[in-house]
């Protein structure tokens, strides 16, 4: 009975039990709330981070790479906006198979047509990466193609499909569901090959690969912006529903010390040298004497940074075609590319040869050695080694100036031996030959004791002998020039640099390079004395071909045998101009020239051309001596409007040769124009008739002519001749280049510049 009572169901019993159930439910609800506290209030940061990581796709907006300017703010490298077209392969999996296949076909067909890409490759990529939401169809798309793609995006892909009830249904999906466009950036080098080895180029990721682009990559590279958008599983269009953008910060701009005009002079001269001398490579640097700033730097052969992998050089291409083995050809191609990309002026080491005598000389003068009377007997013996002078008969008793002008090896060996190993090395080190110059460019060759130069404690007297005239050790062109530059700069060794300023995107100056004086290597008076000897060398010695009328050029040539290749040599020239107030220093190095091989024959004329053009461009007044003055040009007077007969009579007074063309009485036009400079006794054509044709003549070939024959020939043809290069009083000058090519037509009275050089008396060590 008791049991019955306990189980008897009353309303009260149910209600009591109800309260138990309510309590249990309440407890469970509280567990719910507790879980929410845990998830939403305690661990919420963790989950939020996960959520953001998942849902927010972080797409970089390419920051515009900084512009590279020359010192006059001419653009050398610039980034321009282009576009990138991408495909969302994942969206091809979201409809029926039949429709997806059709959509892939449509997308690939249209994109391959517009973007000129391989259709099958794109198809394969889309199928392969169907889990991804982003693959690039083509980068660096230009505006015309981009506009076509934009148009495509607004059209639908339409297909008749069976719906779930088996009925036909029109299904259409817009191209924009599968394809997208975003901005991209392309690097342009407006001057093509100009300064390419110095500038370098950028890779596919807009990253600097060589040269300035590489060395200053983090300055030029901006901070990429971010676009954060919902990385929804299905459609890029959801991005429109929530996204935020952080703008890209463009990279800093760089202003180089390079002057585009001087760079072009150097580039053109080296290019010509590369062709004429048939050398392996040739390179040169022009430096501002007082600051160490690089005004121009070039190496041939080079490349077009707009398409850096393309091999354009004819010689290399010819060699390439001749290689039959595919693997070998590929290797050669890789080497050829590496060669055209390399900046030989700082990366190549060579034996400086006689140019180095300037350093030995500086050391000896600074150390107070007696140098005005040293005897050369044609050869000199140091221990078991016999050194010859190029003048086998001996130079006799030589003064300091003569020693340098003759580039006499025995003279310098004697000098070196007098200095001794310690004192020689003191200057070797002081002039910076045991360290990198520290120029702000990548891949500067690193001097290594025992490899590129003699270890000081192991140096023998024989080593000293060959070192004193610049052989048995190797330097870079930039090292050599920096050392020579110190001679022009009152003995102060500068640290060379190419970047003058960095600017922000609004061209406000961020930083400015201040020239760094590394040390005083020699005294000012010593430097003056060496300069004087260098001037003499250009006037009368082995560097005659570097003579520029009116500009007092100081210089020294060098020719050194290549130890690695028998019978080949390196010709070089280093100089400073103008000598009385040094402004620029220059070095030209020609590796393995063929034919005429010496520094005087090959390198000096190149330097002369660059020096003349550069100093003219920099508005340096020419100071002619009397001889030069006699051959000075005169300005053409104005004849237009004058009576034809009076022109003829006045011409006799001025010494000009006048040719009247036409039947009229009054002069209507003239050639050369008023104010132009032509040689004394030059030719002027005057036209008296409105409709008369220009009087044209064919330009003769001047090469190989002496100054006298060239002058007469020019007069016969009716051309004004401008004589360029070399010391004017030098004998045996022959023409090697002319400004207007032979056999071309030109107007009567035009001026042709003819470049002369000598092949005698310029041989050095």
């Amino acid at each position: 009975m008791a049991q019955k009572k306990r189980t008897r169901i009353t309303r009260k019993e149910i209600n009591t039990r109800s309260i138990v159930v309510l309590l249990v439910l309440t407890f469970l609800f509280l567990i719910n709330v507790g879980s929410l506290v845990n998830v939403q209030l305690i661990k919420n940061d963790t989950f939020k981070t996960y959520a953001e990581k998942n849902q927010l796709e972080d797409k970089a907006i390419s920051a515009r790479r900084g512009t590279i300017y020359d010192c006059n703010m001419n653009v050398l490298a610039q980034s321009a906006s282009v576009w990138r077209v991408y495909v969302n392969p994942n969206n091809f999996t979201l409809n029926s198979d039949e429709f997806n296949t059709y959509a892939i076909e449509c997308v690939c067909q249209n994109l391959s047509q517009i973007l000129e890409i391989d259709k099958d490759a794109l198809k394969e990529k889309i199928t392969k990466y169907k889990d991804l939401k982003y693959i690039v169809a083509k980068g660096k798309v230009e505006k015309t193609q981009k506009d076509k793609v934009s148009e495509l995006l607004t059209t639908p892909i339409t297909m008749t499909v069976k719906n779930s009830k088996g009925k036909d249904e029109e299904k259409s999906v817009y191209y924009s569901y599968y394809i997208g466009i975003e901005s991209d950036i392309k690097r342009y080098y407006p001057d093509g090959n100009l300064a390419s080895t110095l500038l370098g180029f950028t890779g596919s990721e807009d990253e600097g690969r060589y040269g300035i682009e590489f060395a200053y990559d983090n300055v030029l590279t901006g901070t990429d912006g971010r676009m954060i958008y919902s990385n929804s599983a299905m459609n890029k269009n959801t991005a429109l529903e929530f996204e935020s953008t952080y703008d890209a910060v463009p990279g800093s701009n760089i202003v180089l010390t390079i002057d585009e005009t001087i760079q072009r002079y150097l580039d053109d001269a080296l290019e010509q040298c590369y062709i004429d001398s048939y050398c392996e490579t040739c390179y040169g640097i022009v430096m501002d004497v007082k600051t160490g700033a690089i005004l121009a730097m070039s190496a041939k052969n080079d490349y077009d940074p707009n398409s850096p992998s393309e091999i354009k050089d004819e010689r290399l291409l010819k060699n390439l075609i001749e290689i039959k083995d595919a693997k070998e050809r590929e290797n050669y191609e890789v080497e050829a590319r590496a060669q055209q990309w390399s900046n030989n002026a700082i990366s190549d080491v060579y034996e400086p040869g006689s140019v180095f005598k300037l350093i030995t000389l500086s050391a000896a003068i600074e150390e107070g050695e007696q140098l005005e009377s040293l005897v050369c007997g044609g050869h000199i013996q140091i221990e078991d080694r016999l050194y010859y002078c190029h003048n086998r008969g001996g130079c006799g008793n030589e003064t300091l100036n003569q020693g340098l002008a003759n580039s006499c090896n025995p003279y310098y060996i004697t000098m070196g031996q007098r200095l001794g190993i310690n004192r020689f090395n003191k200057y070797f080190e002081a002039f910076g030959f045991t360290e990198k110059t520290g120029i702000d460019l990548p891949a500067e060759a690193n001097p290594v004791a025992g490899v590129t130069y003699h270890k000081f404690d192991e140096m023998s007297r024989v080593n000293l002998a060959s070192s004193s005239f610049g052989q048995s050790f190797a330097v870079t062109a930039i090292q050599m020039l920096t050392a020579v530059n110190a001679i022009g700069n009152g003995g102060k060794l500068m640290q060379p640099y190419v970047v003058a300023k960095t600017l922000d995107s609004n061209n406000n100056v961020i930083s400015k390079t201040t020239p760094v004086v590394k040390r005083q290597v020699i005294s000012e008076s010593t430097s003056k004395r060496v300069l004087e000897a260098m001037v003499e060398t250009v006037k009368t010695g082995t560097a005659k071909n570097a003579y520029v009328a009116g500009y007092n050029v100081a210089g020294k040539t060098g020719t050194s045998d290549k130890l690695t290749k028998k019978g080949q040599c390196i010709a070089s020239f280093a100089g400073i101009a103008p000598a009385d107030n040094p402004e620029i220093s220059i070095i030209i190095v020609v590796d393995e020239p063929q034919g005429a091989v010496g520094g005087g024959a090959v390198a000096a004329p190149v330097a002369a051309e660059v020096i003349e053009n550069t100093l003219t461009y920099l508005n340096f007044k020419r100071n002619y001596n009397n001889d030069e003055l006699a051959k000075q040009n005169i300005a053409v007077p104005n004849f237009v409007g004058s009576d034809a007969s009076s022109v003829l009579s006045s011409a006799n007074e001025s010494g000009l040769t006048i040719k009247v063309i036409g039947e009229g009485k009054t002069v209507i036009s003239q050639c050369p124009a008023y104010g132009q400079f032509i040689p004394q006794g030059g030719i002027v054509a005057v036209y008296t008739q409105e409709d008369s044709d220009k009087y044209m003549i064919t330009v003769p070939d001047f090469t190989g002519m002496t100054v006298a024959t060239a002058t007469t020939t020019a007069a016969q043809y009716g051309l004004n001749i401008k004589i360029s290069g070399n010391s004017l009083q030098s004998a045996g000058l022959t023409a090697y280049r002319q400004s207007i090519e032979k056999n071309t037509k030109t107007e009567y009275g035009s001026t042709v510049t003819v470049y002369f050089k000598t092949n005698t008396g310029i041989t050095d060590g």
Partner: protein, 421 residues
């Protein structure tokens, strides 16, 4: 043999006479004093309960719209119609509210006579679905639906069976009250057996969550109905042991994806993109919401991260948009609904009415609790929808029908002040 036949004949006679069962007299059941006699109920229904239903329904539809908007917009299944789910849910809500009001007008005593039949129908449907399930496009492996011929509508027998079981138990605990008094523990075990049978049938559909829910509701009504309490004391211990064993080595005891889900629930790898994907996305949504939420409509996880955000995981989007604050308010509203339901029940005049209402609101309460437990990763991912919130036309109709039943009972409940007097 003869003995069994005799017993069976006697049982059939008892059934036919409708007066005795197993020798125990039945309790006469019908409208109690103060209750309407006819088909329609008189008196006003409980306005507080109606308000709670309407508030929850409104919030539910708004949140369903917000949660489904994006997935509908970018799905070919909805033909890229952002309003697809909202429109359907809204139509069903309107129809459902009408149904609820209509049902509330019916005298709940009428349901008493329907109860045993509904029980039979439920059993038949549960068996039918095992034999001939209808498949739904995209959910080929799930066999929970039956297709009604001619109108080609898919129904979930388990939804009907839940209500059928509630009604049956309420009816039986009233009518067979004496049975329990005479047979005590034996009868109690028989009731639990019936509940177990229902749960087992649902489990055989591969519908674990449905089975758990079925068992939960059944067991609670059995407890409320006055079965031997010792069963529950033992039951809790048994279930606790079972849970410990399953958790310790899930793959050895249960099969396939369920074991995987339990494992992934135990390991809690937030980088997982496989079986935990949905749960992780749910936690990320809730976590992003923080205290105040991102604001209505500002969920980011609904941007196609959380699969089908309009269904079982809608509460995650609620949590992301309305934050802890909004979530708590919604839980309190559900709690109040359950509490008010119990108040109505406790003051109801008949055992049937009492247990019917308690069963219905307990079902809602359990569903909410289990759903939120899944969403917050307190339980492994099972698949229980959130009443008033989750998308689903028929289940919303069913739910509102049940609310109508509660309102109907409330008309004669003593909670109604007009009647109290």
């Amino acid at each position: 043999m003869g003995g069994y036949l005799k017993k069976f004949t006697k049982f059939m006679e008892e059934m036919y006479s409708r007066k005795v069962l197993f020798g125990v007299p039945l309790v006469k059941a019908g409208p109690k004093e103060g209750e309407s006699k006819g088909l329609f109920a008189k008196g006003g229904f409980d306005i507080i309960f109606l308000i709670l239903v309407c508030v929850l329904l409104t919030i539910g539809i708004i949140m369903m719209f917000s949660a489904s908007y994006i997935s509908a917009k970018y799905s070919y299944k909805t033909n890229y119609d952002a309003l697809y789910y909202f429109k359907r849910q809204a139509i069903f809500a309107v129809l459902g509210v009408a149904l609820m009001l209509a049902v509330s007008k019916i005298n709940y005593n009428m349901f008493r006579d329907v109860a045993p039949y509904l029980f039979g129908i439920s059993l038949i449907l549960l068996l039918l679905v095992l034999i001939h399930p209808a498949t739904i496009e995209g959910k080929d492996n799930i066999k929970r639906w039956l297709q009604i011929p001619i109108i080609k509508m898919n129904i979930q027998p388990s939804e009907i069976a839940k209500f059928g079981l509630i009604m049956f138990l309420a009816w039986s605990f009233e009518r067979h009250q004496k049975l329990l008094e005479v047979y005590g523990t034996k009868a109690s075990i028989a009731y639990i057996g019936i509940v177990g049978m229902f749960a087992l049938l649902v489990y055989m559909e591969d519908h674990l969550s449905g089975a758990i829910l079925m068992a939960g509701i059944g067991v609670i009504i059995c407890f409320l109905g006055g079965t031997d309490w010792r069963i529950y004391a033992i039951g809790i211990v048994v279930v606790a042991l079972a849970v410990i064993i399953v958790i310790s080595a899930p793959e050895k005891i249960i099969k396939g994806y369920m074991a995987e889900r339990i494992n992934s629930w135990l390991v809690k790898d937030y980088e997982d993109t496989g079986s935990r994907w949905q749960t992780n996305q749910s936690l990320f949504a809730l976590g992003s919401g923080g205290f105040f939420g991102l604001g209505l409509g500002n969920s980011k996880q609904k941007y196609l991260y959380l699969p089908e955000p309009q269904n079982d995981f809608i509460f995650a989007i609620v949590g992301e948009e309305l934050g802890f604050l909004g979530c708590t308010i919604i839980i309190i509203l559900f709690g109040l609904l359950v509490f008010r339901g119990f108040q109505i029940a406790m003051k109801s005049r008949s055992t049937f009415g009492r247990l019917l209402v308690m069963g219905i609101v307990t079902q809602i309460g359990l569903q909410v609790i289990l759903n939120i437990m899944v969403v917050t990763d307190t339980l492994p991912n099972t698949g229980i929808s959130l009443p008033f919130f989750s998308y689903g036309g028929t289940s919303l109709m069913m739910l509102l029908f049940e609310m109508g039943v509660v309102l109907s009972v409330s008309r004669s409940s003593r909670i109604n002040k007009n009647l109290k007097a």
